[in-house]
Each structure stands twice: as structure tokens, then as C-alpha cells.
Symmetry: none
Subunit: 220 residues, 4 copies
């Protein structure tokens, strides 16, 4: 069984993305269960994943997961919370490194895209199983998503104010830029290299929002 071979940290990380993501889950069994769930949810979707499959992939008995999680939905919620928090953290770190608005947007997009490529397994769960999470548990996730989106929107708005960006419809621009990164989760399977992809997409985005050369030179 592949799961058996993949029990080690390295093999697993190939499927589950950045290994540090799951560091906060301290118990080893609990982490294995979570990663097994993650891979299955990503491959087949939440409803098509059985708790037995998860357990098998984690090399545990069918009921072992209940020692660590209250339910299958719990697994999805935890994965989703960790994932969404990680995206926001990455985005915030990227912004912090930026020197000016243009640079910050470029870094944000590059990071966002690279994250979705590198962590496309988690990303798929975040995006495709959002609707699966019941309203009463969705609150924190919604907040994280809104915050992430707000980071970009605020930068775009700032750039417009600074006259470095020319954007017709701020909302459409915000969501469209994020779409390019989010949708990476759907099609990405290792190619191209996350960094290369991130560079290419961020370049496209910058051209999309930049004030056209002529006008800028006129202004400058």
C-alpha cells in the first residue's frame, strides 16, 4: 500500500505540501490522520472519502481517528482553518517585505500563486470543500478569506490613490487577480516550478493594473 511507504515525513510532504503546515498538530497519530484526510479529501472530495479510507491511509484502525477528532467534519474544519491561516500568514509576510505599493502587490501575488502551487493538495480542499463546511463552523474561515482578500483590495486601492495603478472596477480586479492564484489549485500538478509560475503570473498581474507607460511618463 502506498500509504505504508509514504508514512515517513518526506514522502508524505510530497503530497501534503509544506511540512511545517502541520507542525502545530503535535500528536503524531493525529497528524497522520489529518494528512491522510487531506490527501483523500483533495483527491476524491470530502463526501467521496470514507473514514475507513482515511484510517487505512494513516495505518490505523477504522476507529482510531475518533481518539483525536470528533468527526470527519472536524478533520475538514481543522484542515481548512490551518490552510486558510497559512495563506493569510504567507500573504502578510509577503506584504511586510515589500518596499512600496507596487512591490507589495507583486510580492503578494507571487506568494499567493506560489503557495497554491506548492500546496495544491491543501488548496484544493480549501477551495472545493468550502461549501461543505456547515455555517456554524464557517465563521473563522470566512474571516480569514475576507482578510486575505482585503489585503489585496487595500493595496490596489492604495495604488490607485498613488496613481501607480489604473483600475476600472476595483472589486472585479481584486477577485480576478485572486482567481488566477486560486485556480492554480485546480490544474497544477507539478509543472511549471512554483517560483517560475509565480513570476509569470505576477508579471501578468502587474501589467494588468499598472498605469500605462505613456500616461505614467506624462505624469512623471
Amino acid at each position: 500500500m502506498a500509504a505504508r511507504a509514504g508514512r515517513g515525513a518526506d514522502a508524505a510532504s510530497a503530497q501534503t505540501g509544506d511540512p511545517n503546515l502541520w507542525d502545530r498538530v503535535e500528536n503524531a497519530s493525529a497528524r497522520r490522520v489529518l494528512q491522510a484526510a487531506l490527501v483523500s479529501f483533495s483527491e476524491r472530495g470530502y463526501h467521496a472519502t470514507t473514514t475507513r479510507r482515511i484510517s487505512q491511509r494513516a495505518d490505523l484502525s477504522p476507529t482510531a481517528m475518533y481518539a483525536h477528532y470528533r468527526s470527519k467534519m472536524d478533520l475538514l474544519v481543522v484542515i481548512s482553518e490551518i490552510g486558510h491561516a497559512a495563506v493569510l500568514e504567507a500573504v502578510d509576510a509577503a506584504i511586510a517585505d515589500g518596499t512600496d505599493t507596487t512591490d507589495r502587490v507583486r510580492r503578494l501575488v507571487r506568494t499567493f500563486t506560489a503557495w497554491h502551487a506548492r500546496n495544491h493538495t491543501v488548496a484544493r480542499v480549501l477551495q472545493y470543500e468550502m461549501r461543505t463546511i456547515p455555517a456554524e463552523r464557517f465563521g473563522p474561515i470566512r474571516a480569514l478569506r475576507r482578510d486575505t482578500e482585503a489585503r489585496l483590495r487595500d493595496l490596489l486601492r492604495a495604488g490607485i490613490a498613488e496613481s501607480v495603478f489604473a483600475i476600472g472596477d476595483l472589486e472585479v480586479a481584486t477577485v480576478s487577480i485572486l482567481s488566477m492564484g486560486i485556480d492554480v489549485a485546480r490544474w497544477y500538478d507539478g509543472e511549471p516550478d512554483p517560483t517560475a509560475l509565480a513570476d509569470a503570473q505576477s508579471e501578468l498581474v502587474m501589467r494588468m493594473i499598472a498605469v500605462p507607460n505613456q500616461e505614467r511618463s506624462e505624469i512623471g
Copy 2:
């Protein structure tokens, strides 16, 4: 239940998008079943949709669908085939109307985006349940997707050759542009107006790929 009220053609089309889409399903019951499945698949996903729900929404007995479709999976496949075919048709029609490469790309993007907004219910099924379709039935769908993607790629390539587009990475550009339209299915819920959205997105795309003004003026 809302479904009961929605049995009429108009109410249903509000949920199922362009009513002509389902014209090719001639039997009225078969069409109602298909539309009921469509709405449920879109709202809750394939696996979370029960055949009973579908039948109920179609105002038929729990087993009536089996007179028209061999299985629940059949419904998904038919929906997916019709939907993907419709996208390609729309794209082809848009291209045919264009006057030059730039115009054709703009029309393609506008149409693609508008289609995904107007038919976001179907579009959600097309994008989110692709992995659910078993390999042996996926062939025709894959072909349609590849063709649709090829339409854009070919136009971009032509524009580069004509020096009206400046694109660093053709593949990334192709998929990123489509991502903006595809991802509309995820977030769209009636706002903004499909035409307005299509105009805004196509404008973003055109700026993204157009040769910068300066250079172009140099050439002209």
C-alpha cells in the same frame, strides 16, 4: 419546497441558466430530472446529492429517473457533456464574430466570462465535479476542454506573431486568462451583471497581453 414552485420553465431557468442549453433533451421528464440534478449537484456536490432529492425536485417518484438515465453518474456525464459543448460553441461563435486577433480575444474572454456568470450553476458542476467522472467516460469532456483552451492559445500565439500581443509565457497566460473566467463559477452569485463583469474582465485581460502603448506606437 421551492422545487415544486419552480416546476415551470421560467422559474427553473433562473437556476439553471440559459434555458436553450437543455433543449436537446427532448423528453420533458428527462429534462426536468436533468435540471433538478444540475441544481443539486451545483448546490451540494455530486456525492452529497441523493437520487431521491433529484426526483423530488423534479416532482417525480424516487425511481422515475431510471426510465431516462442509467444512473446518477449518467446524469453528471450528460450535464457535463452538454455544458462543455455549450462553452465551446459559445467561444467559437465569439471568435467567428471578431474582426482581428485582438478583437477575437476580447470577444472570447468576454463570452467565456459572461457564460460562466450566466450559467454559474452549470459551470460549478463542470469545474468541481470533473474529477468525479470516471476515466472511461471522461474522454469526450477532456476533448472539449482541450479544444476550448486551444482556441485561446491559438489566438494568443497569432497575436504574438502579429506583434499585437506581448506575452512572456504562453502557457501561463492561457491558463491564467481562463482561470479568471472559470473561477467566476466559484464566487458569482448574480452580481455584477454578467455583461458588466465580462467587460471588466476582458479589459483587464487585454491590458495584460497587449503590447505596451509606447512600443506599439513605435511599430505603427
Copy 3:
């Protein structure tokens, strides 16, 4: 489809045994349905046979059988009645041809065995689906079976009285002799030739019941 090829009388009789058996069913469609049911009941059993299968094999629509028979059970009952009646008729004809008790028993056994070989398709239904027929419809069939058994028992009793047979337990002998013929339905698949099999089995039976040579010569 094999059924289509086998629609003619000759091909069908290969599977359904003596074609005259079904002559009394005058309507051609009704007869085709009956023979289709017969073959399926024999091959897979009554409960594993669907009415759709029967109709298909008879080259008719799934509901066509209801024009001729009230239910699936009706088919089984009719087949069973015709079959059991035919066995008794054959046995009676065999007895009628016999010259003395010994000859009559030999002819009865030979005929009984040959019938089960030649009509093993029907015979299998008669024997294996007996318990399937509900009590309220089983009366006539029970009568036919009792009569057939009585024919042999009476002959054996007569032979004992005439001192041509030496039999310890009349009941066990009766049923055991019939078992040899009945069980042919279970294993027979065309080999050996029904006549050869009938000769061999009847010889075994005659030795089984005949007064031993020594004693007979003493008596004579």
C-alpha cells in the same frame, strides 16, 4: 443476441427439449415468452430471473408478457403443470406398452430417465422450483407427482406379489429409483445419449429389484 438467432422453433427446441411439449400454447408470442422463461428459470432459477430478461429473450418489450400471463409466477406454474403432465403421460404410455410387470418397470424407468435427459431444461425447473410455487397453486402439481410416483410403486408392489421382485423397503425403493432419474436433471448436459443412459440406468434398476437368480431358478 442469441435470443434473436434462436427465435426459430428448431434452435429453441435445442434448449427447451421436446418441441411438442409447448404445442398446447397456441399463441406464438405466448409460447415464446414461456420458452424464454423456461430457459432462464432453468439456467439461473426463478428468483434470479427478471421479467425483463424473459421479455428480452422472447424479443418482446418488457411488458409484453402481461398480455399473456398474469404474473411471473403464472409462467412458472404453467411450465410446471405442462412439464409434470408430460412426465406422467410419458410414464403411462410406457406402462401401456409393457407386456408384464418386469417389462413395465423397465419401460417406465427407461422412459422416465430418457425424459429427464431429453428435457433436462424443463426437468430442472420442475425439480428445483417446486418449493417456489405457493401452496394455493401447487395442488394440481402435487397430484401429478403423486400419480407418477404411484405408477412405479404399484408396479413394484405387483412384482413383489408376483415374486419377480425382491424389495426390502418398498418406499425407499420407489423413491430411490425415481431419484436416479430425477437427478439426471441436475448433472445432464448432453452426454451420454438419452437412450443409452436410459438403458444403463434401467439395467441397474432391474438388477436392484430382481429376485436373485438362484432363488428364482429354485422357484421356477
Copy 4:
């Protein structure tokens, strides 16, 4: 329901024959399920038996059987394998006890018949549901049946070589003798006593195959 009353070992064995037969099924629930299935398969046939009935008769929830068996078919296969193995074991034990060929045949027949009377519930399943078992699982059962048949055939052949048996057609004799025992499963319902029946049938068989007195005295 009678099943509830029959939960005790003794009551069950009245229906399921030799209780030792099921000893190899160690888990008590699994054994109860198996015996419940056995009785139902025997009474109504495999296809007419629902898994619910089996569970009810075993005093378990409708799904409890799935903890022990993978499917309803699994139950049939296990029953069939255990049953056929038991027949062969009984036959082998009988042969081992014999002093010469004639004695061995007599013992074989007596044992075979008595087994089918005593275990007529299992025997009915073995004989009537053979065709129900799919080819890919039938291998071991076919082997057991062939072995059992070979035991008799080999003895008959030996007896012919030793001139203690006079048999026209070895194959017909082999199958006909077994038929007498097998068919007991069809009609037996407690009468006569298995031993008495076995004695009567074995006597019939011995007369059927023995070299006639006269000839034998000539030889001796």
C-alpha cells in the same frame, strides 16, 4: 419469531444438522449468522432470502453480518465449502473403516446417504445453490465434489477388477448411486430414520452392482 426461541445451540442444531459442522467458525455471532443463512437458503433459496431475514434469525441488527462476512454470497460460499468438505471427510472416514472393496462401497453409500438425511438442510443448499456461486469462487467446491465422486468411482473400478462387481457402464453407475443419496436432500423430512434409510439404500446399491450369485459361486 421462531428464530428467537431457537437461539440455543440445541434448537438450532435440529435445523442445521450435525452441530460439529460449524465448529470451525469460532466467533459465536459469525456462527449464528451462518446458521441463520443456512436455514433460510435451504428453506427458500438464496435469492429469496434477504439479508435482513438472516440477521433477524440470528438476533442481530440488519448489518451485523457485514462485520463477519463480506456479502451474502460470502455466506453461501462458506456454507458450501464447509458442507462439501464435510461430505468428503465423512466419505473418507467411511472408506478407511472398510475391510474390503465391497465393504468399503457399502460403508461409503451408507455414510453418504445418512449424511444427506441427517444434514438435509445443508445438503439442500449444497445441491440447489451450486449454480448460484460465481465461477471465480466455485473452484474449491468443484474440487471437493470431484474428489467425492472419484472415491466411489475408484472403488467401483477396483471391485470390477477384483470381479466382485459387475457393472456395465462405470460412469452411469457412479453418478446413479450418488444420485440416490443426493436426491435425499430434496425429499427427506425426518422419515425414515437416517440409519434405516442408509441401510435400505446401501442394500439396493449392493444388489445393483454385485456379481450375480450364480456366477460368483461358479467363480468361487
